[in-house]
Symmetry: C2
Subunit: 479 residues, 2 copies
């Protein structure tokens, strides 16, 4: 158990230094490696397997809601990026620019895509002609680049992987429905797959996406009381359509501009996974995305019959769960620590005495609970346990979010909570962005997270200026 101890000690405590704890996990669980390229990360096999599980799950949800995948070029000519004014203002400062191709200087420089609205619009202008061509429900999985000064694995990197949905609709109503439908897909995915609860709603005008008329967001709460923008869904109106001259012949035989949405999530969700669920021994992964759901560790594996039985179990269970049998010559203690660090939801221990009793030991990663289970019904026991682990992880995350959600009725209360009890602050707001600016300044970074769909009435006046309140807003610091 000496090695077990040592591995555990190698991680900074979560309450001691949250930022260092986070990067320790990212490294020790072998999720990423830093690269020589400033701000870019290498996503290692274990990290990428998590992303593959997330991607496959989301992709299924997108296809079930009628979306199709496409692939757009990774370069955007500067003139194309400039077609929509608000959009280029939002993104130009963080573009990486290709200026040389082969040995020749380009006549027009190309931006490596930070997002692909402009490319989709250019294509839509060609393929949308009549109402019969609508809706267009496209999605793309790709990498994008935003030149960042300070970076952190998964949370903020110059290059990251994401999906971006871009859709076109006949009417504003349809487009607005799509925007909300995809927000709901994200909410469901967070809950059902990542075991993460969140608040959600629409962004204030100040926090909207560049060029959007409405931005919806899902905002999960990290363990340390900092929020994370977990995914956004935008309604664009016909602004881009006008800028790109996208028109369709309507049912009335007249020309109309279609209504547009976009929505996206990224590898930053892996950051959320870590910061919501993990602990001082490493990753804790929800079963649905864990690359290994079950680790079988033989005890006293040199004794007769142990490896045979372990292999028999492995062969029975591997078609049902993502299972790993570790019969390497490392000690059981080393293996325990290893799979704990990697967040494997269930460990199955099997030794000579267990075999005698026709049982094994199941150990939950999330609670460390040990269960002695008959081998007769092992498959069902594990299936039930994985469901229970998921549900319990969700409940604990929900508990954490509730604990870290506070109500401020006055300016002083707001400032006090921001300084002393990090988390969400629910407070009334007048609708003026000047108050958002002021609250951000005095608190060192607390911003409006969203206006929820169901607002509570916490009073009649803005917590900042005292004028009549228009909305209840969730506020908080963010990654």
């Amino acid at each position: 158990m000496a090695q077990n101890k040592k591995m555990v000690e190698a991680i900074t405590g979560r309450d001691e230094d949250f930022a260092k704890w986070y990067t320790d996990i990212v490294k020790k669980a072998e999720l990423v490696d830093y690269s020589n390229v400033k701000g870019c990360m290498v996503i290692r096999p274990y990290g990428f397997a998590i992303w593959e599980n997330m991607r496959n799950d989301m992709d299924r949800r997108f296809k079930e809601t009628g979306h199709e995948n496409v692939y757009m070029p990774m370069f955007i000519p500067e003139s194309l990026l400039q077609k929509e004014k608000d959009h280029v203002e939002g993104f130009a400062p963080e573009c990486a620019w290709v200026t040389v191709g082969g040995s020749e200087k380009l006549t027009e420089r190309l931006c490596v895509r930070p997002t692909s609205e402009t490319l989709f619009c250019e294509h839509y202008a060609k393929v949308i002609n009549t109402y019969r061509d609508l809706p267009k429900l496209y999605n793309q999985w790709c990498s994008v680049v935003r030149w960042e000064k300070t970076t952190r694995p998964f949370l903020r990197t110059s290059e990251f992987l994401w999906q971006e949905g871009h859709t076109m609709h006949e009417t504003e109503e349809e487009a607005r429905e799509e925007t909300l439908r995809m927000l709901q897909v994200y909410i469901d995915f967070y809950k059902e797959t990542l075991a993460i609860p969140a608040v959600f709603g629409r962004k204030t005008e100040k926090e909207r996406f560049a060029g959007a008329r409405e931005t919806y967001t899902i905002e999960p709460m990290m363990h340390n009381g900092v929020a994370l923008q977990g995914g956004t869904s935008h309604y664009f109106g016909d602004g881009f359509a006008k800028a790109f001259d996208i028109t369709y012949q309507g049912r009335d035989n007249k020309l109309h501009y279609p209504h547009q949405t976009s929505w996206g999530t990224s590898t930053r969700m892996i950051g959320a996974l870590i910061m919501v669920h993990s602990d001082d021994d490493g990753l804790v992964l929800p079963p649905k995305v864990a690359p290994i759901q079950l680790a079988i560790i033989p005890i006293a594996q040199h004794k007769e019959g142990v490896l045979d039985k372990a292999n028999e179990l492995y062969n029975a269970l591997k078609t049902k769960f993502r299972t790993k049998l570790d019969d390497s010559d490392q000690s059981p203690g080393w293996k325990f620590a290893q799979y704990e660090m990697k967040g494997v939801p269930v460990r199955l221990e099997l030794g000579p005495k267990d075999i005698e009793k026709n049982q094994c030991v199941l150990v939950r990663r999330d609670t460390r609970e040990k269960l002695f289970v008959s081998l007769d019904n092992i498959e069902q026991e594990i299936a039930d346990l994985l469901v229970k682990i998921h549900d319990d992880m969700y409940d604990r995350a929900l508990e954490n979010m509730k604990e870290k959600t506070h109500v401020a009725h006055t300016f002083d209360e707001f400032v006090d909570i921001a300084a002393n009890t990090p988390g969400f602050i629910k407070a009334m707001w007048c609708g003026d962005s000047a108050c958002e600016d002021k609250l951000k300044d005095v608190t060192g970074g607390v911003k409006s997270r969203c206006i929820p769909f169901e607002e509570e009435n916490l009073g009649d006046t803005c917590v900042c200026c005292g004028r009549p309140a228009k909305h209840m807003v969730y506020w908080g610091k963010q990654y």
Copy 2:
């Protein structure tokens, strides 16, 4: 049927102008759209769905052979690219260079990856320490950029999607085995999934990948007698390992350099699919990768019971095959032409008379054969038919390859065949690259395709220079 006729006429004949026929199919089957970005293509939903099916199939094969997916940065600092001399010489002329990030000029310019050997090596240098860390069997799905002057969708574009495997091994023997194993995976994939036969073997020294000690290739034959390099697998020895200082402590406790491979295939395989199988009515897709395997077309769908029965069939079959029921208000003839253009392997026609007889009509896309089939056993009939279509497509492609494979015993014969009967030329060769150069010059582009694993003895002397022959080589023009 007027519209059917019209759509068919819209494609240039394959024998009339092969290049135009190809681009007609690519556009009319809605596989790609050209973009404003020079040399880059938009892969549309139908084209991307083919790629997804190919990718999922290959990815399964990679995982079954023990490989793991990762993601490396898309940028390579110029100094990193220059670490392996042969490699940089091969790729520098076709790099796209990022020179500005945000608003600042970069101190070192970054190449958008044309291939990622250097990035993998940089990472391997950090994570390989002892023989226990070997083998490393990594693969990456991503897009790469090679600045091309003239481009053609799927076959040659400035940006394309691909997979690149990069592996590290303890011994030369193991690495060479891996190189051949992955070539075999490609051969199997081409045969079992794409229904495409090919010749395969190793490249001559002149045709090797930049920096490789051995390059293996799979070379399918297109319908017009031009070959396509369909996938390559390289053994690198320890050249990169030395350049990147990658060492491991061996079982003998001494430091060693590991042995490396890489192997890749790309969206160019979609070009092969088109040029091997398709015809004057459009795409012909092998069932394994067809986005729609079965199109159900109701006949006289306004008549009572037709749509009900069509829906009943659709619901029964959609879980078994990728099925589309087209009950739109277009005419059956228009629909026939539409799904023919898109290469859907089987069309199911169902009209009132069929329903009376408890039957339907199945029409094969590849042969146009019509089959009247009882509805009692329809699922099994379709399953069998899809297998038969695959096998017949493979056989026809094999027949085409055989017809287009010629033997040249003399220089004059070689030149005559090259000029008059395009295809593979089997001919003996002395091993001197000067003869490759000469044959290429006099034939306007015929190059060595590969030295097969089983060489025939076609004579004792080089077809070019008359000196003693060392190898039998497949020669041919290429895309």
